[in-house]
């Protein structure tokens, strides 16, 4: 049944090819630049309408960003692009419409962190500190299937940024939660936000109304150049 010599020959070819491929890929990982975790302190103004936070003034390009504060991929997106986006808004190159949505509400215990975090972020926008609060929530993002953050913890994160007064009652009173949930439901139904045959996922990024492949690391420079 077996032919030892032939088996060995095939084994060498197979093993050799796979070993080379794996070694090449692994060395690629170690030689490529790791994503920068650089932060930006550039500032911009925001306007809140419903559950949409518009960042910066009218600009040549409008970018729509749909994010769930619990979504780990949104965390990856932010760690790679957040600082550049913040700078581009401050430079007046883009205006960003942030859509804090909540598709992962059931992924925390107790459920609902996504909605509460989105609510808190909009509360921060009300108080004029969206940029810092948004970045902080992603930088200190809780894991999926964890407890998330309580309203008190969300308030405390704001306090660290100097958010006081009505911010606290806005967070604990869930002032924008209904709007967030309505916006999430609307986004899930909007076929322009997803690829054919795919569900609505986060992050979803649109440039001038057209969905872009944000995983292409040049997507933002293509807009701001």
């Amino acid at each position: 049944m077996t032919n030892a010599g032939g088996n060995r020959k095939a084994l060498y070819i197979v093993g050799g090819v796979l070993l080379v491929v794996v070694l090449a890929a692994v060395s690629y990982v170690f030689f490529q630049k790791s994503p920068t975790a650089s932060s930006s302190s550039a500032t911009y103004t925001t306007q809140v309408k419903g559950a949409v936070v518009t960042a910066g003034k009218a600009a040549p390009a409008t970018v729509d960003i749909y994010e769930d504060f619990l979504c780990p991929i949104c965390g990856r997106f932010e760690s790679k692009n957040g600082a550049d986006i913040r700078q581009a808004i401050a430079d007046g190159k883009i205006q960003v419409r942030y859509h804090p949505v909540a598709i992962l509400n059931r992924a925390t215990n107790p459920t609902g962190y996504s909605t509460r975090a989105a609510n808190a972020a909009i509360c921060a926008a009300d108080a004029g500190k969206y940029a810092g609060y948004h970045d902080k929530l992603f930088a200190e993002q809780p894991e999926e299937n964890s407890a998330g953050l309580t309203d008190q913890e969300l308030v405390a994160k704001g306090t660290e940024l100097g958010l006081t007064g009505s911010f606290s009652s806005c967070v604990t009173g869930h002032k924008h939660s209904a709007a967030v949930d309505a916006a999430t439901a609307a986004a899930a139904k909007d076929t322009s936000l997803r690829a054919e045959g795919k569900g609505f996922g986060t992050p979803t990024v649109l440039v001038n109304g057209k969905r872009v492949d944000w995983s292409d690391s040049d997507w933002l420079t293509a807009v701001t150049k």
Binding site: A10, V17, V22
Partner: protein, 167 residues
């Protein structure tokens, strides 16, 4: 069924499985960030390991696809394919069991999706189909137009008909 006909079925299984890995590997390799997204979404590996797997996996799939296409070490490659499919299915199953809302990212895409947009059952069923192809080739790796045949041998050929050499 004649050995020739069984060879033909095996050939279709080999080329079919090759196509699966070439396509899935190509899509993953051409969008490595998205692949990172997809691997990370399974929430199995720590982030540094995700970085490595997200780069290695696409090229590994492509290599397996090419080796299947040329038909070298068919049985070994079929075993590796089956192990990969088992790993994929375990990944999807654990995501399902843990209540994650992800797209498997099997052929591109991947990442978190809305809770009612998952399709774990379909994904597992599809992988099961691929698994059948792999199992066929493990049991009976003799196929037509294979490098194994050209090398003058094939694992299962000798005991069936003595027609080990097939081109």
């Amino acid at each position: 069924m004649t050995p020739r006909r069984l060879d033909l079925i095996g050939t279709l299984a080999r080329l079919g499985l090759a196509a699966v890995f070439l396509v899935s590997g190509y899509i993953k390799a051409s969008d490595l960030d998205q692949t990172y997204v997809a691997v990370n979404a399974y929430q199995v590996l720590p982030k540094p390991a995700v970085e490595v797997v997200a780069v290695v996996l696409p090229w590994f799939e492509l290599a397996v696809g090419v080796l299947l296409l040329v038909g070298v070490g068919t049985r070994i490659i079929a075993v590796i394919s089956a192990l990969m499919l088992l790993m994929f299915m375990a990944g999807v199953a654990q995501a399902w069991a843990r209540g994650l809302s992800i797209d498997c990212g099997c052929f591109g895409g991947g990442g978190d999706v809305a809770a009612d947009k998952t399709s774990y059952g379909t994904e597992l069923l599809r992988d099961t189909g691929f698994m059948i192809l792999a199992v066929w080739l493990i049991v009976r790796p003799t196929t037509l137009w294979s490098l194994d045949g050209w090398l003058g041998r094939s694992d299962a050929g000798a005991d069936l008909s003595g027609e080990g050499v097939r081109t």
